[in-house]
């Protein structure tokens, strides 16, 4: 593992408050947004964030759990994955 950076993807039906709800959870867990992109793809709200964690005591499972719960409340699917999962697959 070369960093503590995560790709967060949020996919679902668009509605008011998705960005607010998701970023509030991130703030609570002290997770910083490095880059963010948001678009509507095939009628689905799609938000992708590159997030960084500096906190040494960061608890990934707890963060993933909170994000999933918030996703359920908002009716969207949220995934938190280490950036290496994408870098290894798409870059040599």
């Amino acid at each position: 593992m070369s960093s503590s950076r995560f790709i967060i993807t949020v996919i679902g039906i668009d509605r008011v408050g998705i960005v607010a709800g998701i970023t509030a959870v991130m703030a609570r867990h002290n997770v910083n947004i490095v880059d963010i992109s948001q678009t509507i793809m095939q009628d689905l709200f799609t938000m992708i964030m590159l997030a960084e964690v500096k906190d040494k005591t960061f608890d990934l499972s707890a963060f993933q759990h909170s994000m999933t719960e918030e996703g359920k409340r908002l009716g969207v699917e949220v995934k938190v994955q280490h950036e290496d999962a994408f870098a290894c697959m798409h870059r040599i």
């Binding site: 950076r5 993807t9 490095v34 678009t39 590159l50 999962a85 870098a87 697959m89 798409h90 870059r91």
Partner: protein, 463 residues
């Protein structure tokens, strides 16, 4: 999106690439099929079987203590499912040889107990390598197989009866026909499921992570991690997305897809082994189907343009698939090994089952297919009254394909007690369900009863 690559440089990952990875996992069944820890048991030998059992229990439960929690942690970190955690051990026939006893069933029970303790779903290595001849330990192990598989849940067994360099040990082939029948009989109440945990090999790889044939070879480190990656569903989706492709385009797409899948497996394997302080062994990229719809090797062959898997052209299509998978995989990782290719287990692949039911796929065609893909006649149900010599002869044919082509082949047949051609048997879970297939009714008895060896082929003389 900017992300750091492995050298720490900033680079761009396109949102579409991110979504592609996510789609592979969520809708196309991309998974790491197994993380298998290989454990050397050579330092556990003891003349007293109780001492020996206590040594192997202690070693396995110590070495694999963190296998399941660490693997689950990595699965969460990368967001990719790791379906199975397994253990392979040094072939028991070797390490138990010094035990002063005739029955190795208690050893199988100890392996079962150790596997349960650390939470893995299979433990492989109740195995023996007899391609050139048998020792007393080999004989004891092989005669313990039926009872061992009937009285344990997680133990898997394999016997290597042929290699390109040694030829085929036909005495062992004859014996294994009988062992398979006995194993089926002892698990008759569960459709002969014991046989699903027993593989007969030619040129068995020493680092294969897939069950039921995994064992930890004698040339391996004390502890290693071998990873099996799968993804027929991903390849199937990629091929089906092409618009009127040529075969070259299909091959190219399979290669690229195999590359991506392998890279994910490599990442997982290296991370798991570094956290467990084990040597990273091999990455086995095998298209291993599951009963899930679309997660099927037959479906890929049909996507190439065959009306039904098993029809004329199937062997050619499979040869191209298998080769493209290997090429993509070998570019993606320097550690590709094990079986690496396409698996064609009938009971585990919804497309194969349909092809058999529709009369398109026969045992003979499956045998032809095994000459161009990894493994062999896998998870095939045959009538319960199939003669022992016929089972041995089916094994002999498959071993010959492996021996002559310098490749691994295997046989995992289930002569289902009391069942006839056309019946269907349910094994449950990943093992799926199998239609009982007909075998050739003419006898092979005299050929098998001759015994002895089929000498090593001319290919063996390569020094």
């Amino acid at each position: 999106m900017y992300a750091q690559d492995l050298k720490g440089e900033i680079m761009l990952i396109h949102p579409e690439e991110i979504l592609e990875t996510i789609q592979m996992v969520t809708t196309e069944n991309l998974d790491i099929r197994t993380v298998t820890m290989g454990i050397n048991l050579r330092d556990c030998c003891h003349p007293d079987i109780d001492e020996f059992n206590s040594n192997i229990y202690e070693k396995i439960t110590t070495y694999a203590k963190d296998l399941v929690p660490v693997t689950d942690e990595i699965s969460r970190l990368y967001g990719v499912p790791i379906v199975n955690k397994r253990i392979s051990v040094t072939p028991i026939a070797i390490v138990a040889e010094a035990c002063k006893c005739d029955d190795y069933v208690p050893i199988a029970k100890t392996l079962d107990k150790a596997a349960s303790k650390v939470g893995v779903n299979f433990i492989g290595g109740f195995s023996s390598l007899v391609h050139k001849g048998m020792t007393h330990g080999d004989m004891r192990l092989i005669s313990s197989i039926p009872q061992a598989l009937a009285t344990t849940e997680k133990v898997c067994s394999s016997v290597n009866v042929a290699t390109t360099n040694a030829g085929i040990n036909m005495d062992a082939v004859a014996l294994m026909g009988d062992v398979i029948k006995q194993t089926a009989a002892l698990t008759a109440d569960r459709n002969g499921i014991g046989c699903a945990k027993l593989v007969v090999f030619a040129n068995a790889p020493e680092d294969n992570p897939f069950m039921a044939g995994a064992f930890h070879g004698v040339g391996e480190a004390d502890r290693s991690i071998n990873v099996g990656v799968s993804g027929p569903g991903v390849v199937n989706a990629a091929v089906r997305a092409l618009k009127d492709p040529t075969l070259n385009e299909i091959s190219e797409t399979i290669k690229k897809t195999a590359f991506k899948i392998t890279r994910m497996g490599e990442k997982v394997g290296r991370e798991v082994s570094s956290r467990l302080n084990a040597q990273f062994g091999v990455l086995d990229l095998s298209l291993a189907p599951t009963p899930a719809v679309g997660d099927s090797v037959a479906a890929i062959l049909e996507a190439m343009g065959l009306e039904r898997c098993g029809t004329h052209g199937t062997t050619a299509a499979l040869a191209m698939l298998n080769d493209a998978v290997k090429k993509g995989g070998s570019m993606a990782s320097s550690s590709v090994g094990g079986l690496s290719g396409a698996f064609i287990p009938v009971s585990e692949d919804a497309g194969m089952i349909r092809a058999v039911q529709d009369g398109s796929l026969s045992l003979e065609k499956l045998e032809a297919m095994t000459s161009v893909c990894s493994v062999g006649l896998d998870m095939i149900a045959v009538p319960g009254d199939t003669p022992v010599s016929t089972i041995s002869a089916i094994i002999a044919d498959e071993m010959a394909i492996g021996m002559i082509n310098c490749k691994t082949t295997a046989v995992r047949l289930i002569p289902v007690p009391g069942r006839k051609v056309g019946d269907e048997v349910e094994f449950g879970g990943l093992l799926g369900r199998a239609p009982v297939m007909p075998v050739n009714p003419f006898s092979s008895e005299k050929f098998i009863s001759r015994g002895g060896k089929i000498p090593a082929p001319i290919q063996a003389l390569n020094n």
